[in-house]
Amino acid sequence: MTVTPGWYMALAAVLFLIGAAGLLLRRNALIMFMSIELMLNAVALTFVSAGRALGDLDGQVAVFFVLVVAAAEVVVGLAIIVAVFRRRASASVDDLDELRG
């Protein structure tokens, strides 16, 4: 049996779905962030698999850019989580509902 790029993309879809469910279910800001990372990873796997099927290196370059954006996003996001934690000693996103306008 040959492993086609479709197999990897199906796996990536499952990982993305798990990450999306985690983002919707959990209230801990850190876990929500990890779920976002999971979804970004799934998309990266899709890029590499599609690039392999098309015989094109652009898929791997796209993964490179996804990685850079993910790294920048994690730096700022975790700084926000730490700043919020210093103020109210909680990492639950429900405690931030007073931010609503």
Partner: protein
């Protein structure tokens, strides 16, 4: 080809198990370990698909830097933070379960009935591109050099933002005097 099949089965199971651990474990440390398992299995998939540069970057940046940052923050915030399980949005869990089920069943039906092509424009004889550092950098610096330069701007802004967030302390006393 059989090697790829064996690797795919093993590491697909590891990746899915890690992803489930991220979402469903009570302890954030276990979530981070699950995320590590998923990232390492994805790196294996990249090597198998001859994307060596991306695989190395995945290990160094994701499994190395990003996950270490996560663990730092978990240690800083504390691991035994009990998450409240009260549902603020009514029937939140049931809605998410229904959403996941709808997507899974819909995609499964499409794939099993052969009404789905994963990569529509793919030529049948396409060779997997060899993602060495040289090959990737040639494409990156010839076709995508503008995007690459914009990336550096993004990183500077992110670094400045993180420093600003960490630098400015909350000024509770002064504010209470003003009020």
């Amino acid at each position: 080809m059989t090697v790829e099949l064996v690797l795919f089965v093993i590491f697909a199971l590891v990746a899915v198990a890690g992803a489930l651990a991220v979402v469903f474990s009570r302890n954030p440390i276990y979530s981070a370990i699950g995320l590590l398992a998923t990232m390492v299995s994805l790196a294996v998939f990249y090597v198998v698909q001859s994307a060596q540069f991306v695989a190395m970057v995945q290990i160094i940046v994701y499994a190395g830097a990003v996950l270490t940052l996560f663990l730092f923050v978990i240690m800083f915030i504390g691991v035994d933070q009990a998450e409240d399980t009260e549902e603020r949005i009514p029937r939140q869990r049931a809605l998410v379960a229904a959403l996941v089920l709808i997507v899974l069943v819909g995609a499964g039906v499409l794939v099993l009935r052969d009404q789905w092509t994963w990569v529509p424009a793919a030529p049948a004889t396409a060779e997997a591109p060899n993602g060495t550092v040289q090959a990737v950098s040639t494409v990156l610096f010839e076709e995508w050099v503008l995007a690459f330069e914009v990336t550096s701007l993004l990183l500077v802004v992110a670094a400045a933002g993180a420093i600003a967030l960490a630098y400015f302390r909350p000024v509770r006393k002064r504010r209470s005097v003003e009020q």
